[in-house]
């Protein structure tokens, strides 16, 4: 877009060259745990995963358990609890059940039957098999599947055939689970007591349970940092059972223990379920009614059960999914994330009943807040870590290498972090790249308009020189002042080849419509904003300067030519050699980048140019070739790191014949190659993984910028002046390997322009 603000006509226009120094903005710091607590109910969107097996777990058409918590959303993201070990403190498990037959699914630790003191945790009750099925029953096309169907189950038998067991055995099983190295422990058990009533302080509760059990449930599990999920109980009380409510008073349990109340198929608290009550800060609701899962009586036995026993394993399985997905979060952060992501609008806003709300796996596995890129540190919580919103990070690549960049980055990922707790997410690097294209310029309108006659400039004479100004709709379009001795030229929105005005191609083709004007210096990028030129010339040498007000690019070129003029007999040749430097502001090779891809000011390109023009009577041969070497001025915190110089070239050759058949006709043929990288490499050093110590690993991708083909444009343009007031132009264009890519289709354009003035 040209600047069209000026409405005055100037005879002499001075354009100050302003060097604009832009201050560098610092990256924003990463927030943590600041999500506004207003989470709406999720929508179960992973339709590919909503199979009969998926729907089988829950009863009721509107209250299917996995749909209610939007588990399919997590599956769509690729997370199923794979590799996460979940201990089930229960009545054991039917080891041969078809739902636990996947390789590695079921794990039996030595001595895992604490009821009979042996190694066989065979389920005598059925409850344990049911709970284990809710967590991780196989997704195998039969029966149902668990919420985290790829998680590993560690069965510990602590309940007898009637579903009861001693806390002594339970304590020993906790020790066994810790030894086995499990990640999460599920307790679908409790008693009829009530926290805050039967014990109401850590000391009182420790005394209530006895130190032996209590210290294993709290201290030992804290030391080994296990996540614990406890059913709140089914006594319809205002508070959870004491076991589920111990977290209320014990800081060792807080941040890694969740009490779980049950909702029915209508989504409201089940009539039987205890409420979160005084444990609300560590409490969550999950579906617990009409839950269909494995039973113990045969390998294909299933049963439908109700209770907070069924709600707790949905939470435990959900935590397994989160633990698989977010490698950057420690256990406390995982628990906090699950709580904070719970649906807490509508009925779920009553914390005394639902605590944090209804389990919302769809939200928990999705970005909370905004996604940000990390740079400047290899630790997520380091003071030197710099976070930039992902939406501010982009790379608009030059057409001179866009094809190569896209190809090189296909399948490569970048790790980014959400603003809530810096949970890690993967982003395809290619998704951040926008490719500029030469193809887009070759559109019908441009081809038509290039044949239009140029607007004739208005010429103003002054004591010092001549000014040519072109107006469009009363707005100044371009301007060129030259002193009478041609020593000084100052231009506004002029092509650089205005200073070498003997290319006749401009007479027949209005190529300013194309950003890569054939004979321009290709390193003076004149797209957008206003362009300012100043040139100092004598007969055989000169100095060109350039500035673009949009990008604040600067350019300087020294030029030398033989100064030969057209002779009277129509023969002349003109050779111009130029060299100089183009300094781009926060970009290189006209590739603009921002955010984590940002570059500093002054990415410089050193260039050489050669133009040759020979006139033999009515034949005019023109050619130009430019070569450049670009050095990227990388920003310290940028993902661009250690890139090598980039070598580019562009080429144009053509011939224009006046007096083609008769003096009213002329024809021109031009072959050109737009700017193309011949050799070059950028290195992208990006975060690709992180661990629970919050340390980040970076991977360096070496990106070869050389495209796999060379774009060649062939233009044939014919012009006939029918009368003084009427003329006709025809154009044929063929574009081979557009955007320097073998994958682009070749393009052909035929355009005609007839003009008659009255």
């Amino acid at each position: 877009m040209k600047n069209k603000n000026s409405t005055k006509k100037f005879q002499f226009i001075l354009f100050p060259l302003l060097l604009i120094l832009s201050a560098c903005g610092g990256g924003g710091g990463g927030g943590s745990g600041s999500l506004p607590r207003s989470v709406a109910a999720c929508t179960d969107t992973g339709t590919a995963y909503q199979t009969t097996e998926y729907l089988a777990m829950g009863g009721g058409s509107s209250g299917r358990a996995l749909s209610m918590i939007c588990a399919s959303n997590a599956y769509t993201r690729g997370y199923t609890g794979s590799g996460i070990k979940v201990a089930v403190m229960d009545s054991g498990i039917r080891t041969t059940h078809q739902e636990f037959s996947d390789t590695g699914k079921l794990n039996i630790a030595t001595g895992s039957d604490y009821v009979n003191s042996d190694n066989d945790p065979t389920d005598d009750n059925g409850h344990g098999s049911h709970v284990a099925g809710i967590i991780a029953a196989d997704k195998d096309g039969t029966g149902m599947h668990g919420v985290a169907y790829d998680a590993k189950i560690y069965a510990f038998k602590v309940l007898n055939a009637s579903g009861a067991g001693s806390t002594a055995n339970l304590g020993n099983a906790i020790t066994g689970a810790i030894t086995a190295g499990v990640d999460i422990i599920n307790y679908s058990l409790g008693s009829s007591d009530e926290i805050g009533v039967d014990c109401s302080s850590k000391v009182a509760c420790r005394s209530y349970y006895g130190s032996t059990f209590y210290d294993k449930f709290s201290g030992a599990s804290a030391t080994s940092n296990k996540i614990q999920v406890v059913a709140a109980g089914n006594e319809s009380k205002s508070n959870p059972s004491t076991l589920a409510g111990l977290v209320t008073y014990d800081s060792d349990l807080q941040g890694r223990t969740i009490a779980v109340v049950a909702v029915g198929t209508d989504g409201a608290i089940a009539a039987y379920s205890n409420k979160c009550g005084i444990t609300a800060s560590y409490c969550l609701a999950a579906p617990g009614s009409s839950i269909y899962s494995a039973d113990k009586d045969s390998n294909s036995d299933y049963e439908t059960l109700n209770g907070t026993s069924m709600a707790a394993p949905l939470v435990a399985g959900s935590l397994a999914i989160l633990k698989q997905e977010f490698t950057s979060l420690n256990n406390t952060q995982l628990v906090t994330r699950l709580l904070e992501s719970a649906t807490n609008t509508g009925i779920y806003s009553d914390t005394s009943i639902y605590g944090y709300g209804l389990l919302n796996l769809g939200q928990a596995t999705s970005p909370m807040g905004v996604l940000r890129t990390l740079s400047g540190s290899d630790n997520l919580d380091s003071g030197s870590a710099s976070y930039i919103d992902l939406s501010s990070t982009s790379f608009i690549s030059s057409a001179s290498f866009s094809n190569a960049l896209k190809k090189s980055l296909t399948g490569k990922q970048l790790e980014v972090y959400d603003s809530f707790d810096r949970a890690n997410f993967k982003v395809e690097l290619n998704d951040l790249i926008v490719s500029k294209s030469n193809i887009s310029e070759f559109n019908t309108i441009n081809h038509f308009n290039r044949l239009k006659s140029k607007d004739k400039p208005q010429v103003y004479l002054s004591p010092f020189g001549q000014t040519e100004a072109t107006y469009v709709n009363g707005q100044l379009e371009s301007n060129l002042f030259t002193t009478y001795n041609n020593f000084l030229a100052i231009g506004y929105n002029q092509d650089t080849n205005s200073f070498l005005k003997n290319e006749k191609t401009n007479l027949i083709a209005n190529d300013r419509l194309f950003s890569k004007n054939y004979f321009n210096n290709p390193y003076f990028y004149n797209e957008g904003g206003s362009n300012f030129f100043m040139s100092l010339n004598n007969n055989q040498s000169g100095l060109d300067t350039f500035m673009n007000s949009n990008s604040n690019d600067l350019g300087f070129a020294m030029k030398f030519n033989n100064g030969e003029k057209l002779t009277e007999d129509g023969y002349a040749s003109n050779l111009e050699f130029s060299f100089g430097v183009s300094a781009e502001n926060k970009k290189f090779l006209n590739s603009s980048s921002s955010g984590a891809f940002a570059t500093e000011n002054f990415s410089n390109t050193n260039f050489l140019g050669l133009k040759y023009n020979k006139t033999v009577q009515d034949l005019n041969f023109v050619s130009s070739i430019y070569m450049g070497q670009t050095f990227i001025n990388e920003k310290e915190s940028s993902y661009l790191s250690g890139s090598k110089p980039i070598y580019t070239s562009s080429l144009t050759m053509g011939v224009i014949k006046d007096n083609f058949y008769d003096p009213s006709q002329k024809i021109g043929f031009v072959m050109s190659q737009p700017q193309k990288v011949e050799k070059g490499e950028i290195n992208l050093r990006v975060p690709t993984s992180s661990n629970r110590d919050r340390n980040v690993s970076y991977t360096t991708y070496n990106v070869d910028l050389k495209p796999d083909a060379r774009q060649v444009n062939l233009d044939l343009i014919f012009e006939k002046s029918i009368t003084e007031m009427e003329n006709l132009k025809l154009g044929l264009t063929h574009v081979q390997n557009a955007d320097h890519s073998t994958e682009s289709k070749n393009q052909n354009f035929i355009s005609a322009y007839w003009q008659k003035r009255f």
């Binding site: 229960d90 009750n125 058990l189 007591d193 109700n306």
Partner: protein
């Protein structure tokens, strides 16, 4: 005289029709467990095969399912595990069960359940009484 005769006849008739008078109730098979479902929905704590809803209840059983089961006894809803129903004794037409419950502070499964016994009796009669003692 006539009244005494009729009264005697009625008493004799009624006495002759009672089962205990000619056959003792015996348990042939019994299996006790807990169910996640309310098996019996007739407001009583048992159902026998002569009841039209017996097979509906039988279908809800997720246990052994004897082929000749003809009597099901169920306790009331339990909010947690640790409960069980056991046959205690049979006295006349009364069948006594004993329900055990979990001890205080015992860890129990937190599931809604119904302790029940599936029984094969030697006879089916509507004149049975089930007593669950706790």
């Amino acid at each position: 005289m006539l009244n005494k005769y009729y009264i005697f006849s009625i008493i004799f008739f009624l006495y002759s029709c009672t089962p205990q008078s000619n056959e003792t109730i015996k348990v042939i098979n019994i299996f006790c467990k807990t169910s996640g479902q309310n098996i019996i929905e007739n407001n009583k704590n048992f159902i026998n095969k002569s009841d039209a809803n017996f097979f509906k209840s039988y279908e809800k059983i997720n246990g052994k399912k004897f082929s000749n089961s003809n009597f099901i006894v169920q306790s009331d809803e339990k909010r947690r595990g640790g409960y069980s129903l056991n046959l205690n004794k049979i006295v006349g037409n009364k069948i006594y069960f004993f329900e055990t419950s979990p001890q205080e502070k015992t860890a129990t499964s937190t599931v809604i359940n119904y302790p029940y016994c599936e029984i094969e009796l030697n006879i089916i009669t509507n004149n049975l009484e089930v007593i669950i003692e706790r």
